[in-house]
């Protein structure tokens, strides 16, 4: 159920970014959700569909990409993908590994249609 609060947060951030860029119609929001982010993609999509029209046009699409969990071993430096939530280094069997991707929800990019030229926005 916390997908709703994440989507609310996401939409607020996108609105701020678009405003800072001089406005425009948001057509796509690209998000990556890691396997360890605690996000269920279907629920996230449903919450987005439900809430997007309050902030942007209902034509605005969510491009949701699920990414695997990647970790790096603090002992031998081996980088590996976590499969079946086995958090032990397959190279040296050490249990002290650091997750470097896949434990968060990341706003990758926002696509907008605007009347401003790119130069106009940049100035």
């Amino acid at each position: 159920m916390h997908e709703r609060s994440l989507v609310q947060n996401l939409l607020r951030q996108v609105a701020e970014i678009v405003a800072a860029e001089g406005g425009g119609q948001v057509t796509e929001i690209h998000v990556q959700a890691g396997d360890l982010s605690g996000v269920e993609p279907l629920l996230f999509q449903t919450a987005f569909d439900d809430m997007v029209s309050a902030v942007f046009s209902s034509d605005c699409q969510l491009a949701l990409e699920v990414v695997p969990v990647t970790a790096v071993c603090s002992q031998c430096g081996h980088q590996f993908e976590i499969v079946d939530f086995q958090f032990r280094c397959p190279a040296c069997q050490v249990g002290s590994v650091r997750v470097i991707q896949g434990d968060e929800v990341t706003l990758i990019s926002v696509t907008i249609n605007s009347n401003n030229s790119i130069e106009g926005v940049a100035s």
Partner: protein, 229 residues
């Protein structure tokens, strides 16, 4: 009409995580260890806190912020023992930092050694929210079944300790301490595993010793000379 893509590459929860880090450091510098207690409903968080409060009475100062969807039943149970504020989420499935800060303010921001946050009973959503804790402890009771770590991996991955509760019921339920421990260690190999029965008090002294160790270990960095940090 121009179409263009603005590259952001930012954690959606970055602001909340930064706020939580500020609160963690503020309380850590003051000498308060913040413990986020998580479990499914009925695993025994409040009962463990009652036993902890009795053990620490006269020795250590503690306060509790207790989260529930509705009612102040848990706060009423703890109120005779320790300063406690009930946080009612009004239906939300987890606590977030602003609610915790409101509770702390309601208690007058007490300068205690241990501040426990008893989260909403739920093994899913609370795992995704940093409340500014120094230590995250997940409880699992013997009546829940020993298959839970693998079913709720994020909760166990993000915790530093697991406490197996209701140990007195072990002879009556199909629960293997070995199996749950192995399953949890697969997900979080660095997890400290403890067990107790808060009703008869067994294992409580060990749990409180563990908290004392964590206090020393996790707050040490705030007391080192600035150059060593």
């Amino acid at each position: 009409m121009n179409q263009r893509t603005i590259v952001v590459q930012r954690d959606v929860q970055a602001d909340q995580k930064a706020d939580a880090a500020v609160e963690r450091d503020r309380l850590g510098r003051r000498g308060t260890l913040v413990i986020n207690l998580l479990s499914s409903p009925g695993a025994g968080k409040t009962t463990l806190l009652e036993a902890t409060a009795r053990h620490f009475a006269g020795r250590r100062k503690m306060a509790v912020l207790v989260g529930d969807l509705e009612t102040d039943r848990d706060a009423q149970r703890l109120a005779p023992l320790v300063p406690v504020a009930q946080l009612t989420t009004g239906g939300a499935c987890h606590l977030e930092l602003p609610l915790v800060q409101r509770g702390l303010k309601a208690l007058g921001d007490p300068d205690v050694d241990f501040l426990f946050i008893e989260n909403v009973g739920n093994l899913v959503c609370p795992a995704s929210h940093d409340l500014g804790e120094h230590l995250r402890v997940v409880l699992i009771s013997t009546t829940e079944g020993d298959d839970k770590p693998g079913k709720y991996p994020k909760m166990f991955r993000t915790s530093q300790a697991m406490v197996i509760t209701k140990l007195d019921l072990l002879p009556h339920v199909p629960f293997s301490v070995e199996a749950v421990t192995q399953d949890a260690l697969r997900i979080q190999p660095e997890l400290d595993v403890l067990s107790n029965c808060a009703l008869d008090g067994s294992g409580i002294a060990n749990w409180c010793d563990f908290l004392e160790q964590q206090y020393q270990q996790r707050l040490a960095k705030y007391h080192e000379p600035a150059g060593n940090r």
